[in-house]
């Protein structure tokens, strides 16, 4: 069996962690800028339109309430998708680390101990 170098193994695993984290969180930041903020801005504009129509008498209070509730659910949908995205990125990071551990261990024992 080859000699197991703890420092090298830790470095390889850490490198995989850093690489995947950078990739994942770059994507998340890009998503905030390109999707979350513009969509929230669109919802904010819709809320302003509803307020204007209520003020000028086009809408009754009941209609305005339903339309506002729709905007809140739309905003909730943006947040839920974002949470889903964060889960996916964390999942990718953990799996990248597991994969790195697997490769380090299998290389050390020179057999596919971990599938």
């Amino acid at each position: 069996m080859a000699e197991f170098n703890v420092t090298n193994a830790a470095n390889q695993i850490f490198s995989a962690l850093v690489q995947q984290s950078q990739t994942s969180f770059q994507g998340v930041i890009q998503d905030i800028d390109q999707h979350v903020i513009p969509t929230m801005a669109s919802i904010a504009r819709s809320l302003a339109v509803i307020g204007g129509r209520l003020a000028d008498g086009t809408y009754t209070r009941d209609i305005a309430d339903v339309e506002v509730a729709a905007q809140i659910d739309a905003a909730a949908a943006v947040i839920v998708r974002f949470a889903n995205r964060i889960l996916k990125e964390i999942q990718d990071i953990i799996n990248a680390v597991i994969d790195a551990v697997k490769q380090v261990i299998n290389a050390a024992v020179q057999t596919a101990l971990i599938a």
Binding site: H35, P38, T39, A41, S42, I43, R45, S46, L47, V49, I50, R53, T58, Y59, I63, V66, E67, A69, A70, Q71, I72, D73, A74, A75, A76, A77, V78, I79, V80, R81, A83, N84, R85, I86, L87, K88, I90, Q91, I94, N95, I98, K102, I114, A115
Partner: protein, 197 residues
């Protein structure tokens, strides 16, 4: 901690999100496309007899049935952690969420039916809520006895992309439905495994 315990049982890989479903992906994308065609058509005929709810009600039956199927399929998929746990973790990590919206999400998630639901299931539920709001408003505002302006303000004027993109959204409910459907489609695409080349 509970998230960790629940994910470490999946062998040598971890599954935090709901598993990807090509069925849900296809069904949600098709629904989104059909809804936008419907909304674009409604922009042309709102305020005329052709746009009355009684002429269009079958569209909502179709959309709502398809959303119900998507939600049922999502509920039947096992794996991943509850979306509520992810939102709770995000809250602890101080990821900013506006107060009223945070309350809305928390309220939805504390209901028994949604407390263990995946993010995809919750998104399908939010899309159902907004589709039903649009149906109800269409019924109330587009009929022979209602003022035509109520129908035209529900759907606004063409082009349809003014409703969808971050532009001057003059049809707030249609825009809200479009956003929830887009988030549903996007969330399913987000969890699609990368193709191995």
């Amino acid at each position: 901690m509970s998230i960790l315990i629940s994910v470490m049982t999946a062998g040598c890989t971890v599954q935090l999100t709901a598993p990807y479903s090509s069925d849900i992906d296809t069904a949600a994308s098709s629904l989104q496309s059909d809804f936008l065609k419907f909304a674009a058509n409604m922009q042309m005929i709102a305020g005329t007899p052709k746009g009355y709810y009684e002429q269009q009600s079958s569209q909502y039956s179709d959309f709502e049935a398809r959303l119900a199927v998507i939600k049922m399929r999502s509920e039947s998929l096992s794996g991943g952690v509850a979306c509520g746990q992810a939102l709770e973790a995000a809250k602890k990590a101080k990821i900013p969420m506006a107060g009223q919206i945070e309350d809305s999400v928390s309220t939805a998630l504390s209901e028994p039916a949604t407390s263990n639901a995946s993010c995809i299931t919750i998104l399908a539920g939010l899309a159902q809520n907004n589709m039903e709001r649009l149906r109800g408003q269409h019924e109330l505002r587009c009929n022979p006895t209602a003022k035509p302006v109520l129908c035209t303000t529900l759907f606004s004027a063409p082009p349809i992309f003014n409703i969808i993109v971050a532009g001057p959204s003059e049809a707030p409910v249609v825009s809200a439905v479009a956003i929830t459907l887009n988030e549903l489609v996007g969330a399913e695409r987000d969890i699609k495994p990368a193709s191995k080349e």
